[in-house]
Point group: C2
Chain length 407, copies 2
Amino acid sequence: MPEISKRGQKVPMSPFRKLVPYADIAKANGKHVYHLNIGQPDIQTPAAAMAAIRNIDLDILAYGPATGNLSYRQKLVPYYQAYDIQVKPDHIIVGNGASECLQILMFACFNHNDEIIVPEPFYANYNGFAQIADVNIRPLTCNIENGFALPPIEAFEKAITSKTKGIVITNPNNPTGAVYSQEVLEQLGALAKKHDLYLICDEVYREFCFDDTEFYSILNLRGLEEHTIIIDSISKRYSACGARVGAIVTKNEALLNTLTRYVKLRLSPPGLGQILAEASLEMESQYMDDVQAEYDRRRMTVFHRLQQMKDVVCYKPSGAFYCFAKFPIDDADRFCQWLLEDFEHNGATVMLSPGAGFYATPGLGKDEVRMAFVLNTDDLNEAMDCLQIALAKYPGRVAKQEILAEK
Amino acid sequence: MPEISKRGQKVPMSPFRKLVPYADIAKANGKHVYHLNIGQPDIQTPAAAMAAIRNIDLDILAYGPATGNLSYRQKLVPYYQAYDIQVKPDHIIVGNGASECLQILMFACFNHNDEIIVPEPFYANYNGFAQIADVNIRPLTCNIENGFALPPIEAFEKAITSKTKGIVITNPNNPTGAVYSQEVLEQLGALAKKHDLYLICDEVYREFCFDDTEFYSILNLRGLEEHTIIIDSISKRYSACGARVGAIVTKNEALLNTLTRYVKLRLSPPGLGQILAEASLEMESQYMDDVQAEYDRRRMTVFHRLQQMKDVVCYKPSGAFYCFAKFPIDDADRFCQWLLEDFEHNGATVMLSPGAGFYATPGLGKDEVRMAFVLNTDDLNEAMDCLQIALAKYPGRVAKQEILAEK
């Protein structure tokens, strides 16, 4: 039998889907599972977007341009302008979701064995994309005590080696919900310029900033047009994860040329998804207001409930729709599996994402979990009921003191 | 300014799109361009498929399973059965077109610097996919004199080195239209087994076999379940290139597990495209009969017209919708550019794909071109009128004798 490649043997299992078989069994046994484990919102896709699909007037679904339909890229210009991001259609390359965008970007920007600095916890699949591109992630650990703010700029500078070629951040952050200020991003930009690094920001949660938190895009950093690149996606903002429409936006012409050669190899991004994406930009303005208000309610629901749970360490996330909390448990992988296999409350249980998968540093996140606020507040409250009772009953519960002692 | 990666600098420009700027200028100047350069058919997508999109009943376009919607994979089982290919839904992984499928497959099967044997001329983007995966293509040259039949099995065996891990073929072939017999495929299978190689076959033109040529899938080779993998796509058979729905099909369980980890990283294939693909399987049976008859007419039109052109070497392709011909010209790149820039007949010209891009061996294909039969026979005849007159007028025309003398 021919062998699986060495890299294929090492490619990581997405931690988002590792628990799926246990959830399937729980459901087959009649248990209701509240899914807080994956960023799949229950929010409706904009009606205008679905209507555009129902009204589609095409006889042939042909290849489109490799970099995305021009009409769509043109309409993205005013969309970005509303966020003070000044770009032209030629600065935008449409991809198969943010995933493909980040993967191609790694090939275009980094050589084999180059290093990128990524604050952890980070979106777990970055590990896989980096591994495919033979790029090494150098993690910089953030802490729950300050709501997972970025480490001081000195820590970034100290992490730079001769191999470092880029810094990759997610703003607003998945999995922590942290939002980075203009001041912090300016410091990162100055550092990127000083050391000639790419500064890549995954901004797919741009719409979701709460309280007085203001979103600031790295594309607005002056004099950094050749260093800054954003990754985007319609999946979260329009609740259209299945459309598979993402984008790379940069003003670096050499990079755009290189990326264009990459995307031409795979011919074109999804045609129907792009029609939906374009129509999404014409939705009623009320849509986003409603969605933002709904996520804010959910955020506060989860935060208040977690605050009431004994020995749970949490904070109020400023953005995105996630919270990363510390539980009084021995091992989050075991706890999350136990929730699905051995626990139920009123015929239901809750599915969470164990924290370790979001860290590159071994041993971190063992008592942490990510929760996605992708259910309505009634369901979220039911899920929090489950969680509260489960934490009390879990055989692997440890006292808060023990966790602190471990540090 | 941060540097483009070394690999990014080397990633090849798709030869399909290199001439596009010249075509754009020609069209801006009012010239009609007959596009025989790209495999984008003018055939309509099945009405049932477009109707399924118009009747879509979804409020949320959510992530689907990473390996593709189960309902779609289930319906592919009888589709493959009609070709005597016996597979289960779990043997199928749905991807973003054949392009993503081949790319992932290279990562899963091959290590850095492994070699694959690929008969040339081959689908030009294989070069790019191999380069991204750091896999080296070892080409085996086929010849126009026998209609680009595969080289004898001894030539394949001779090309195997300690680095060789796979053989990649396209059947029916793009760009040559050659179709490989069961006997030839059995020889290849025996060789793959003997040397423990993956045997990968891109079968996206399965539907298009003409005259008495019978399609035979490598998945039917006995005792080769762990060696054989097919790449598939709905783009050509349903004229749905923009849907971006392809597939990998294999019975190799270890490989399926590895591929599943890869596809989970990018979450899911296009949701709307999969709905269209599933509905395509329910089209009226008349659709494919009509499409096949239409391509057959086109094939014969081009073949007869080329036969009448002085010093053009051609053959009757058995499958797919391409012909690869040898012209009495100095350089096909120059000729194709000249057609767009300097030639017109009745206000029109023709766009072709220069042959060199389909070869890995430098210097080959310089006087060859690929023509795609993607226009109706009236348009094809007009395009052939252009070509016939252009070949007579082209300043770089060379006599047939000179070409032969070059050998």
